[in-house]
Every structure is written in structure tokens, then in C-alpha cells.
């Protein structure tokens, strides 16, 4: 009954209606083509990701279930034995601990220093721009350049750090050849490398905190310390989390610096998980074990990345 009624409202008028219809027809025609365009547009990326990311992952998983010859070809199927061996190996456990120490220290110190720099640079002071530029500078320093700069400072005989140490009457320190110090040295260099980037992130976050919040707090007589703990920190906590995640991930992937500064030594003190994979595969020729280690590393990184995605998803809808 209702349908039979002439509905003047719903009926679009003359030329507009035509246009809408043609548009719909056209877009329908185009939609039919979408499949081909999808192949064309997405194909190259999917192909590359398959060849250089997915296939290698599966292949690594496959290799981890075998024994391998010196060319990396699988020989005998051993199931999960490689995993069992690895988890019982004291040297691998030591590597796990070293990696844990490294990534957690790097993450914590990067956050503390990055935030400190950003909080200071966020003040209204004359010439603050100069300091801001200095604080971002390490962003442009690549791994090998950082390593060269710091290796020179850590040099036991002519390095500046030992000059300071001896000036205070202590014995010179073999920075990179004593296990504990080597770890400290690598951590310090990594934190320094991360500072510029982290500073920029925190600085951006601090600038984004609404001024009105501080004004309101000041009016009600809150001290600046109170303001920091109760306004600033909660407001920038997403950035803090983001920094923690990316420093953790990049810590787990930290290869260049280890290779340049310590080579995993002394006595495996800085033989991080990622460096082990490389060493066991390409120097010791034990591809099966290296693959198993690579799987462990992947699992760890995948978990952290996944957590990051989940938390990002709460903020960004994709």
C-alpha cells in the first residue's frame, strides 16, 4: 500500500538523478576492473614480501627441524631436538640473559634521558632552539659512525675515558675486553644513538599537552613537580610506551654496533641473540642451530610487535 503512494520526497529530480545513476553504473563497471588493478597494484609488493619475508620464515622454521650440512642444506630430520639442545645450552641461556640486560637497560636509559632532554628543551628560555638542535643531532649519526666515535673514546691507551679515569687516580679500564664493562660500553653507545630520535618523540608529545591543563593546575597552586607527575606523565604515557616498544625491538635487532664494537666478546659477554644467529650460520656453518635461534628471535620480536599493534589499535582504527 505504501509503495503505491507517490513519494515526492524520495524521488530525485531530473538531471541530478541521471548523473547519480550514470555514476553508479560507471563505478560498477570500474568495480569489475578492480580485480585486475588489484593484481597490478598489489602484486609486486606481495610477491616481494613472499619471496623475501614469508618464504624465508618458513624455510628457517623448516631448517630448524633438521641437521644441516656446511652449505645449509637439510640432511637428517630431528624434530624439535635443536630447540631442546638450545634451551639446555648454558651459552645460549647466557646470550638470552645478556640480550635481556641489553634491551631493558637501553630501553630504560633511553626513556629517562630522552624525557629529561625533552622536558628541559620544552622550557621557554632564550636560545633554547640551539639546544633543541643539539639534542636531535644524534639522529643523523649512523651505526658505524657512532661506533668509530665511541671506539675512540673507549680505546684503552689513547681514549679519553681512560684519561679521565687515570686523572682521578684509578687504574685504566679495559672497556671493551672486560665482560661487564663491554656490556656497559655497548649500552651507553646505543642509548646515545637513540637519544636524538627519542628526544624528538618526547618533545613532540610534551608540546601536544594542552597548556590549559597547566594553567588550571597553577591557579590551584600545584607545584611544578606535582604538575609533572600528575599532568605531564599521564599525558605522554602513550609516547613513553611507544618509545619503550621501538627501543626494545631495535635492541633485539642490534647487530651492527655489536659487530663493530665487541664482535660478541669478550667471552660471549655481548653475544646477543641476533649476533649469535649470524655467527652460528655464517662463521660456524651450523645453519640448523642458527635457524632455531632465528625462530626464537622472531617469536620474541613478533610478540612485542603484536602487543604494539594491539595497543595502537586502541588509538588508531585501521
Amino acid at each position: 500500500m505504501i509503495e503505491s503512494l507517490p513519494s515526492t520526497k524520495q524521488q530525485p529530480k531530473g538531471p541530478e538523478a541521471n548523473q547519480e545513476i550514470t555514476a553508479k553504473v560507471k563505478s560498477f563497471e570500474l568495480k569489475k576492473n578492480d580485480k585486475y588493478y588489484a593484481w597490478l597494484f598489489l602484486g609486486p609488493s606481495i610477491l616481494l614480501l613472499t619471496v623475501f619475508v614469508f618464504f624465508p620464515m618458513l624455510r628457517t622454521l623448516y631448517l630448524s627441524l633438521f641437521l644441516t650440512d656446511t652449505f645449509g642444506n637439510p640432511t637428517v630430520f630431528v624434530g624439535l631436538k635443536n630447540y631442546a639442545i638450545l634451551l639446555k645450552s648454558t651459552s645460549y641461556i647466557a646470550s638470552l640473559k645478556a640480550t635481556g640486560t641489553y634491551v631493558i637497560s637501553v630501553s630504560i636509559f633511553t626513556i629517562i634521558f630522552g624525557l629529561l632532554l625533552a622536558a628541559l628543551a620544552n622550557q621557554k628560555l632564550r636560545g633554547i632552539g640551539f639546544f633543541r638542535n643539539i639534542f636531535t643531532a644524534t639522529m643523523g649519526v649512523s651505526v658505524s659512525v657512532s661506533a668509530v666515535f665511541w671506539l675512540f673514546m673507549f680505546n684503552p691507551s689513547i681514549g679519553i675515558l681512560n684519561k679521565v679515569v687515570t686523572a682521578f687516580g684509578f687504574h685504566p679500564i679495559a672497556w671493551l675486553t672486560t665482560p661487564g664493562w663491554a656490556m656497559t660500553a655497548v649500552i651507553a653507545t646505543t642509548v646515545w644513538m637513540h637519544l636524538g630520535f627519542t628526544f624528538l618523540l618526547f618533545f613532540g608529545a610534551l608540546q601536544a599537552v594542552p597548556k590549559s591543563l597547566y594553567d588550571a593546575a597553577s591557579v590551584s597552586g600545584a607545584s611544578s613537580r606535582y604538575q609533572f607527575w600528575h599532568i605531564t606523565l599521564p599525558m605522554i604515557s602513550p609516547t613513553m610506551f611507544f618509545v619503550a616498544v621501538i627501543t626494545l625491538i631495535s635492541g633485539f635487532k642490534s647487530f651492527g654496533l655489536i659487530d663493530l664494537m665487541t664482535g660478541g666478546g669478550p667471552t660471549n659477554a655481548t653475544n646477543l641473540l641476533v649476533y649469535r644467529v649470524y655467527k652460528d650460520a655464517f662463521m660456524n656453518g651450523n645453519y640448523a642451530q642458527a635457524s632455531t635461534e632465528a625462530i626464537f628471535l622472531t617469536i620474541i620480536i613478533a610478540i612485542i610487535t603484536f602487543v604494539q599493534f594491539k595497543l595502537l589499535a586502541k588509538r588508531v582504527n585501521y
Partner: protein, 282 residues
């Protein structure tokens, strides 16, 4: 009365500011010191460095730079990295934007599946996949060739993801209007989507460039010839061969490497920041 309070307040602020400047100065010194020391030693005569005389020794000299430019392949390394990073950046801009376009403007079966596939690859670290990848490029006969440092990195899951976020913000009306005008996907991609996303594309370019510039493990594994070596691995080579006898030259080489990156950084700073905002908080 009021006057003294104000005086006290200014005094307090002055004291506070002095303290802040002091702290800023100390921190700036710590941040810049390793860097400044490296640059400084690059101007010192080798003799002084070997003896550990960092100041008050002989005169400053450009000798280390002359040695670096003439005795080493540092310029060649720089050129290699420049070529590789430029190619990777252009490829990312092209392939990532096309991929992102497909996810936003095209209707096809398994679109969500493919998107999760791409997202999934972001979780897999390249560093843990070098063993099969090495075998692959060896099989393809790419070892010790320029292309081996470019081909595996022609696309980036991160790039696709980031551009997809940007493309999603393009008003749907534009697409409908383009359909009415009979624009093909190519035309819409090239004439509307790309110009609209300029800032994000610049951000991606900055990231891709720095990422490729900082490649270390992969070139080290897959290339052996000095004339192919990118700059990070070139520096590694110089550092391991020469530090015992010529620290000055190594420092000069490091300085030569760091200057272009700093220039890129200060030009690209704005884009890094906007990229960060897209990637993290929002």
C-alpha cells in the same frame, strides 16, 4: 613590600634559569661530546693522536681528509650508498603507494586477508631471515652485485601500512567525483591520491632513505668487492684495517660520512616529526 616580593621572585627565577642553563649545558655537552671529539681528532696530525695528545700538540691539519679522499674509497662508498638508498626510496614510494591504493580504493576478494598478510610481515625481523635469503640471492646469482642490496628492499610493509592510513583520509567524494569524470584508477592514483599525500610520501621517503643508508648486515653478507661496498660497511672495513695506525684518517672518514646524513636530517626533520605523529600517538 610588593616590590621586595617581586624582587625575590625575579631572583628566584634568575636562579632557576641559571640552574636550567647549567643542566642544559651539561647535557648538551654529553650529547655532543663523542661527536665533537671525533671531528676534532679528524683535524689532528696522526702523530699526536697516536701519542694521545689531543690538545696543545701540533697544528691542526687537513691531512687526514686528504688521506681519506685519496688513499681510501670513501667517496665510492658514499656514492654506492647514495645510489642504493635513492633506488630503495623511489621503489618504496612507488610500490608502497600502489599497494596502499589497492587496500583503500579497490574492491577485491581476500582484501582483508592480504592486508593482514602485509601487517604480519611487519612482525618478522629481516635479521632473523638472512639464512634463507642468502641462499635465495645466491641461487639467483645476485651475490656481489648492486642489485642484491636493492631487490629485497623494493617494498616495505611499514610503508604500505603508513600510506594506507593516509589514503583512508582522502574524502570518498573525490573518488566518486573521479568515477563520474571517468578517471581510471591510474589517473586517480596519479592525479589525486599522490598529490594529496605529499607530506606522508615525504615522510616515507625520509624513513626509507635513512633505513637504506644504515643497512649493515645484509651488504656485509652479500658483497665482497670494495667498489660495491656501501658506506656503513666501508667504514667498518676502514675501521678494522686502519685504526691501529691511523685513527685520524678513520675519524675523518666518519666525519665525511656523517655530514650528508646531518644535512638530510635537518632538511627532513619536519617530515620525520609528522611521520612520528602518524605512527605513534593519534
Amino acid at each position: 613590600m610588593e616590590n621586595t616580593i617581586m624582587k625575590q621572585a625575579t631572583k628566584k627565577r634568575l636562579l632557576g634559569n641559571t640552574f636550567k642553563y647549567l643542566l642544559l649545558g651539561i647535557l648538551a655537552f654529553i650529547v655532543i661530546f663523542p661527536f665533537a671529539l671525533g671531528i676534532w681528532t679528524s683535524f689532528l696530525p696522526s702523530m699526536d693522536i697516536a701519542k694521545g695528545t689531543l690538545w696543545g700538540g701540533g697544528q691542526l691539519t687537513l691531512h687526514n681528509y686528504v688521506t681519506a679522499f685519496t688513499q681510501t674509497k670513501i667517496l665510492r662508498y658514499l656514492l654506492n650508498s647514495l645510489v642504493i638508498a635513492t633506488l630503495v626510496t623511489l621503489a618504496h614510494l612507488f610500490f608502497c603507494s600502489l599497494g596502499a591504493y589497492a587496500f583503500v580504493f579497490l574492491d577485491f576478494k581476500y582484501r582483508d586477508f592480504f592486508f593482514y598478510v602485509v601487517l604480519g610481515t611487519m612482525m618478522l625481523p629481516f635479521e632473523a631471515e638472512v639464512i634463507p635469503n642468502f641462499a635465495t640471492v645466491k641461487m639467483l646469482g645476485l651475490l656481489n652485485h648492486y642489485s642484491v642490496m636493492v631487490i629485497p628492499f623494493l617494498t616495505s610493509a611499514f610503508g604500505i601500512f603508513m600510506l594506507r592510513q593516509t589514503f583512508k583520509q582522502i574524502p570518498r567524494d573525490l573518488k566518486e567525483a573521479a568515477d563520474v569524470d571517468g578517471l581510471s584508477h591510474w589517473q586517480f592514483y596519479w592525479k589525486v591520491v599522490m598529490p594529496y599525500s605529499k607530506i606522508s610520501l615525504c615522510t616515507l621517503a625520509a624513513y626509507s632513505f635513512l633505513g637504506a643508508w644504515n643497512q649493515y648486515l645484509w651488504p656485509m653478507l652479500t658483497t665482497f668487492s670494495d667498489h660495491l661496498r656501501p658506506v656503513q660497511d666501508g667504514l667498518r672495513q676502514l675501521q678494522s684495517e686502519e685504526t691501529f695506525n691511523d685513527w685520524g684518517m678513520v675519524q675523518a672518514s666518519a666525519a665525511i660520512v656523517v655530514v650528508p646524513t646531518l644535512i638530510v636530517l635537518y632538511i627532513g626533520q619536519h617530515y620525520f616529526k609528522s611521520g612520528l605523529n602518524e605512527g605513534s600517538v593519534k
